[in-house]
């Protein structure tokens, strides 16, 4: 776990640190960056799914024997923050094949320098669902908080939201927690700080650029 009450941090095993070494390195080419990010995303999604409740279910095995099993409870959906968050959709699909995925586009307003909502497309019944909010980097938390507000306005219960990211900064975690104390952040790494340009430091660069462009 972590020192933050609202954060579920993946166990910092050598294996995980090794994966991060690859995606952090500026020498890593895009194909490797994508491959190893996807491996980490998969671990985040598994961790997120583990938070969902189950209920008892009796089944019959092929041998005709009854077995007391459990069944996944509740519907889920993914909501990605365009564009970097979309990189995490495949990881979610790898675990939940037909999961619904909503999108939110947030960009910095040129005049106010504040994040502004440009577009949202969410499932109609999102209020009944568990929501995995997908955005790989939690720096200041500005766009994540705006996106979360959108979700809550659409009737999603805060305790049913899980915010998945690969790398978080303490400033972002604290700001997000102050605003949404009930929402769990699931992350694979917490870096020491933001630098003077509000970038995660040491970080891994611009995730969207590295995943899609460079």
């Amino acid at each position: 776990m972590s020192e933050y009450p609202n954060v579920l941090l993946l166990p910092q095993t050598n294996q995980l640190r090794g994966l991060y070494s690859i995606i952090r390195s500026k020498e890593t080419h895009r194909s490797d960056f994508v491959f190893y990010s996807d491996r980490i995303i998969r671990l985040l999604v598994e961790k997120g799914l583990d938070q969902l409740p189950v209920e008892e279910k009796k089944i019959v095995t092929p041998l005709g024997v009854e077995h007391d099993g459990v069944e996944f409870l509740g519907k889920i959906c993914g909501v990605s923050i365009v564009r970097a968050g979309e990189s995490m959709e495949q990881g979610l699909r790898d675990c939940c094949r037909s999961v619904r995925i909503g999108k939110i586009l947030i960009q910095r307003d040129e005049e106010t320098a504040l994040p502004k909502l440009f577009y949202e497309k969410l499932p109609d019944d999102i209020a009944d669902r568990y929501v995995f909010l997908l955005d790989p980097m939690l720096a200041t938390g500005g766009s994540a908080m705006l996106a979360t507000e959108v979700l809550i306005k659409r009737g999603v219960k805060p305790e049913r939201i899980f915010f998945l990211n690969l790398l978080a900064a303490p400033e972002g975690i604290e700001a997000y927690h102050a605003k949404f104390p009930q929402i769990k952040i699931i992350t694979g790494g917490i870096d020491p700080k933001l630098d003077d340009k509000k970038r995660i430091y040491p970080g891994l660069g611009d995730f969207g650029d590295r995943y899609y462009c460079i």
Binding site: N14, G18, S25, E46, I59, T61
Partner: protein, 502 residues
């Protein structure tokens, strides 16, 4: 020529066909051997922990048969009949023709003039044959020379590699002439056919199949073959346990012979099974008792997936999907437990920082077919890993595991490579123990082996960890002894059947 009977041969089909028709029966010896064990629990408890237990694979105790007799007496047909009838994987036929000594230039000249005496006992390197059989008995991968009759020399760059022989048949006129070689044999047979009949057969073979002329063939016979047969071959008859007159035409003798061999092979496989049974541990699965056992955390997701995989209503599509998910988690867990790391400085786009990167190399080995269920997930985790295959099947009647074929990648020779050994289910543990032994025989250190499995019975898992204390075992769900009567699926192979739909 040495032939290995087993991999992809007709015998293989005969073993598998009845099983694929009735997949629920006799796949593994488990239900039976689990219950028998309960009865003998008291001595097992005492043995657990203090006494060193070892696994002896069947190929370190191969059943060795020697077949001697004059040229043309029918040794080869007798050997073929035995191979056909016993139908055991890894039956190796070693012909003494492979062990002719390389010739000196002078002898070579004589040989091309048909003047060299190939039927003299000194022409055959029986010491070399003895060394080969001894090495096979030691469980080693063994190189058998190939002799070229065209060049009258051993092939320089080629030889036959044999590993894991279960039955070895040594066939040749001097098979019983070497004392130490004889001592390795369990059954010594002499095929005694009238020399006139031998000559007739030889002429037939030499002229029809080897393209010799009649005169040359007869000259060879009178000058070398016959005198040697009388002088050197015939006396070895006294070492035989059994003399078969008239070769393979002698139906009664062959029948008795085969019954005798089958009886001994049955005893041998029973002894093998008993040794596996003796490995069973009684200690509970705690970190202290089995430090190398890693059981997946029983989270909501794992319980849900387990339920889906066990449900008979689950479609094949869903089964594959959910098995792949759990396979990925198991592989990640295995990598976590075995990968070694070194410290590095990573340059991120902003700055440099200390971190680690993996320093281990990996090789994967599948036990066909249930290990194949992991391959999709393995490719998504370690896309470039080399994959070896082992086919080990349980005998349909006895349940004894038998090694049918092994194809291991070169990279397994790297003594630091971690070997990930996959099998979807561990029931009696017999197959996987054999697989680990195969890897060990190829020079893999047990501490570099990680067994990855989804369902494991407590009995099977305890046997693996007691036979090989340094092997790491990663398992998804454990079928505990006390529960196993309520969880019969821990005793049946079903994962690969459902995953592949056959």
């Amino acid at each position: 020529m040495a032939t290995t009977h087993g991999p992809l041969s007709s015998g293989d089909d005969e073993v598998t066909t009845p099983r694929s028709r009735a997949p629920a029966t006799n796949r593994e010896p488990t239900s039976q051997d689990i219950t028998t064990k309960e009865g003998t629990s008291s001595d097992v408890i005492q043995a657990d922990g203090d006494v060193d237990v070892n696994y002896t694979p069947p190929w370190t105790e191969p059943y060795v048969i020697g077949i001697a007799g004059p040229s043309g007496s029918g040794k080869t047909s007798v050997a073929s009949r035995i191979i056909h009838e016993i139908n055991t994987p890894w039956t190796v036929l070693l012909s003494l023709d492979n062990f002719y000594r390389p010739l000196t230039p002078k002898q070579l000249e004589m040989a091309f003039d048909n003047e060299y005496d190939f039927d003299n006992p000194n022409a055959v390197d029986l010491d070399c044959c003895y060394e080969c059989v001894k090495s096979l008995k030691g469980g080693h991968k063994t190189q058998i020379p190939i002799y070229s009759f065209a060049k009258h020399d051993r092939e320089k760059d080629r030889c036959i590699t044999i590993y894991g022989a279960n039955v070895i048949i040594i066939e040749g006129i001097y098979a019983l002439a070497h004392e130490k070689l004889r001592d390795l044999m369990h059954l010594k047979i002499y095929v005694d056919t009238d020399l006139d009949v031998c000559l007739a057969r030889r002429l037939n073979r030499d002229i029809a199949q080897r393209g010799r002329d009649l005169q040359g063939a007869i000259q060879q016979w009178t000058k070398f073959v016959k005198p040697n047969a009388e002088r050197y071959v015939k006396p070895t008859m006294s070492h035989a346990d059994l003399i078969v007159p008239r070769g393979s035409d002698n139906v009664i003798a062959i029948d008795m012979l085969i019954r005798h061999i089958k009886k001994h092979l049955a005893l041998k496989s029973e002894a093998h099974l008993q040794k596996i049974e003796k490995l069973t541990g009684k200690l509970s699965f705690t970190k202290e008792n089995y430090p190398n056992l890693q059981i997946l955390e029983n989270t909501h997701q794992m319980r849900g997936i387990y339920t889906i995989l066990l449900d008979r209503e689950t479609s094949m599509d869903d089964f594959i999907f959910y098995f792949d998910r759990v396979a990925m988690t198991l592989i990640n867990k295995a990598l976590e437990s075995c990968t070694e790391y070194r410290e590095v400085v990573v340059e991120t786009p902003l700055t440099a920082m200390k971190s680690v990167i993996p320093s281990s190399k990996f090789v994967a080995v599948n036990i066909v077919r249930s290990g194949d269920c992991f391959m999709h997930s393995l490719r998504k985790t370690l896309p470039e890993v080399a994959i070896g295959k082992l086919l080990i099947q349980s005998d349909a009647t006895t349940g004894e595991p038998q090694l049918h074929t092994e194809a291991l990648p070169q990279s397994i020779d790297d003594s630091n490579a971690k070997v990930l050994l996959f099998d979807a289910q561990i029931i009696s543990g017999a197959g996987i123990i054999m697989a680990i032994q195969v890897l060990a025989d190829h020079g893999v250190k047990p501490q570099n082996i990680v067994v990855i499995t989804y369902l494991g019975s407590e009995v099977g898992l305890s046997r693996i960890m007691r036979a090989f204390k340094d092997v790491t075992v990663v398992v998804g769900m454990v079928g505990y002894r006390d529960n196993i009567s309520k969880e019969p699926w821990f005793r049946k192979r079903f994962i690969d059947s459902k995953y592949f739909g056959t």
